[in-house]
Symmetry: C2
Subunit: 368 residues, 2 copies
């Protein structure tokens, strides 16, 4: 096939380092081969570091980030269980939709698009619903470029004895995330954002409290594919007792193992700082040119910046010109922001001052 | 990473051609990029040929073959719907498990392991359950190496007005499969078997009858990730209206597009013949050396051969020696056949006389 080169400044996937693509294309081996099981163990070990957790059950689901969301809820919730979902964008809305399909008793805290989860509203709602079992929120809303205060949300939820589910698709390895210290119980992510890996995988980690809840279920998990109790027998046990569940995407696991190695080598702190510095530079370039950022400074999500589309500017035409003339992809708005905002990602290997200049230069040029 | 070379003669994955691995490692582009949408269209077009179908809704699910099974049932069935499942191995049993979790009314036709689906038993059961909505079966049972008569099963089911679901994970592109001519309504497969692609994808096709049934549902599909009505808006519509559902595994799609190209270039008929010829050669090599095949000749599945483990032979030790000394993987038994049978695959690029000799030579040598 003819290969196409794009500079990926959208909401993900981002560009993938050559060493990750090289790992991806190594010869396929069996999903029960001892050599592959060793690779899976290495992936889990690196992932624990990147999640900042000691959770034994830390592994990679064999599908995109959306399956992380679905797996979290179908395992934790049984019909009738009360779940409180903080919604401030598309992905919180998707959480609600998934929980409804489970037959859960869904309570929501709705926040304006472009704002962070409101802690006072969460506190009030928790007090009104003392029987809430699970609190869920999106750490980094990919539809709005907002980072919510995961630490405080988790602390509130824990005060009320709830388990905490956090969507960290666009935060893992890009902004501070301390799973154990903050008390997050189920955290999932995607491979194609700040990890700079190919899309198609969903890293996930579950606390012992979450595992206990799953083990205590009285009804089967409605999804066989996402059933953590079945997956545990493949991901947690030793080589000899490892039980077949499904065929793991062997080559993609090679790739994420290399992507995780790069993160560990760089160190998490350096990587978070790099994302932050690149974003700050982008903010000044865009605001300096008179463009308006949609999110207030303190809640901005470094890996993904929302820019208001200036009046009279043709959204689709600008994005098409960037793509056709510069091979640059930026993201359109999603949900409430469709047509009114662009989403500019500086994720993984693209989170540098130079890359921020590349996308800013190109966007400002086509807007002239 | 250090790459490991294995000769993959197990139940899948099989070895992947260099051109497929090369396609896999091309630079990642966005999942909404017009160039990627063109690739998805090409994949669907080639897949229609390989499935031998005109079904508009023919695409690749973003997860391993197991998700094809789950997606088929959660979309076609609502709680209380009657489904008849023909079980003659692990994968038929998994179908039953998935359907139970949906709350469907599950009726089964149980067949002895190692035998094909019994048409008389199916006929009788259908007559006893005239309200059956869906008949499901496994065309190629990967746990037993049996090929069932898909054409006759489908004809019987259609006589009773039922929709037909066929698991073709280990038959697609390896043995004759004529989706439209046989009247199969939902057919799914896996990427890592006779397509000789990397594991992690599940090709699927749905007939207009199946789509109508899905559109007529009164309850939401219990899985958001597998909801075909949501997926349709991404896979079926034109570039301008294509709606985001999840992030497609872009690189894996490059790979399957190339794997499908190789199938189309070879022609389906030639590929089926090649699998058949390689299998026949393997049968004579193994039977000639006194080994016993588990399946009667007329029901054997060319891509996967079940061999009885001779008395007194240590199953695990033999497989470990093959792996350590020859870098050859064969499969252990699954389910009822664990410890009593080996599964030897000659799939995709490994379906040749020469490769059959490679695995037969090695196995017979370690058995000496």
């Amino acid at each position: 096939m003819q290969s196409i080169h794009r500079e990926l400044f959208g909401p993900g996937p981002t560009n993938v380092p050559a060493s990750v693509l090289k790992a991806l294309s190594q010869p396929t081996i069996g999903h029960l081969d001892p050599e592959f099981l060793a690779i899976m163990d290495e992936v889990s070990q690196r992932l624990r570091h990147v999640f900042q957790t000691d959770n034994a059950l830390t592994f990679v689901l064999s599908a995109p980030g959306s399956i992380g969301m679905e797996a979290s809820f179908v395992n934790l919730l049984q019909p009738g269980d009360k779940v409180l979902i903080c919604i401030n964008g598309v992905f919180g809305g998707r959480m609600r939709e998934i929980c409804r399909r489970i037959g859960a008793d869904v309570v929501t805290v709705e926040n304006e698009w472009g704002t962070a989860v409101d802690l006072d509203a969460l506190r009030t709602t928790l007090a009104e619903h003392p029987d809430t079992a699970v609190v869920a929120f999106v750490h980094a809303e990919t539809s709005t470029g907002v980072r919510s205060d995961a630490k405080s949300i988790a602390a509130l939820a824990r005060e009320h004895g709830c388990l905490v589910v956090a969507d960290c698709v666009t935060s893992l390895a890009g902004v501070e995330l301390l799973v154990d210290e903050w008390g997050l119980d189920v955290v999932y992510s995607g491979s194609q954002k700040c990890l700079s890996c190919v899309p198609g995988l969903s890293p996930i980690t579950l606390s012992p409290r979450a595992v206990d809840r799953i083990k205590g279920r009285s009804t089967p998990v409605q999804s066989w594919f996402c059933d953590i109790s079945l997956l545990m027998s493949y991901y947690e046990s030793g080589e000899k007792t490892r039980a077949y569940h499904h065929t793991a995407p062997v080559n993609s696991l090679y790739a994420i193992n290399e992507a995780l190695r790069l993160v560990v080598d760089e160190t998490l702190q350096a990587r978070w700082m790099r994302h932050s510095a690149a974003a700050s530079h982008l903010y000044s370039r865009l605001e300096g040119a008179g463009l308006e950022l949609l999110v207030e400074a303190e809640h901005r999500l470094a890996p993904l910046t929302l820019v208001r589309i200036p009046d009279g500017v043709d959204d689709a035409a600008i994005r098409r010109r960037l793509l056709d003339e510069e091979n640059i992809e930026i993201g359109g708005g999603l949900g409430n922001f469709a047509g009114s905002a662009w989403r500019i990602g500086l994720m993984g290997q693209n989170a540098t001052i130079e890359r921020a200049d590349t996308v800013a230069d190109a966007l400002l040029a086509v807007l002239k």
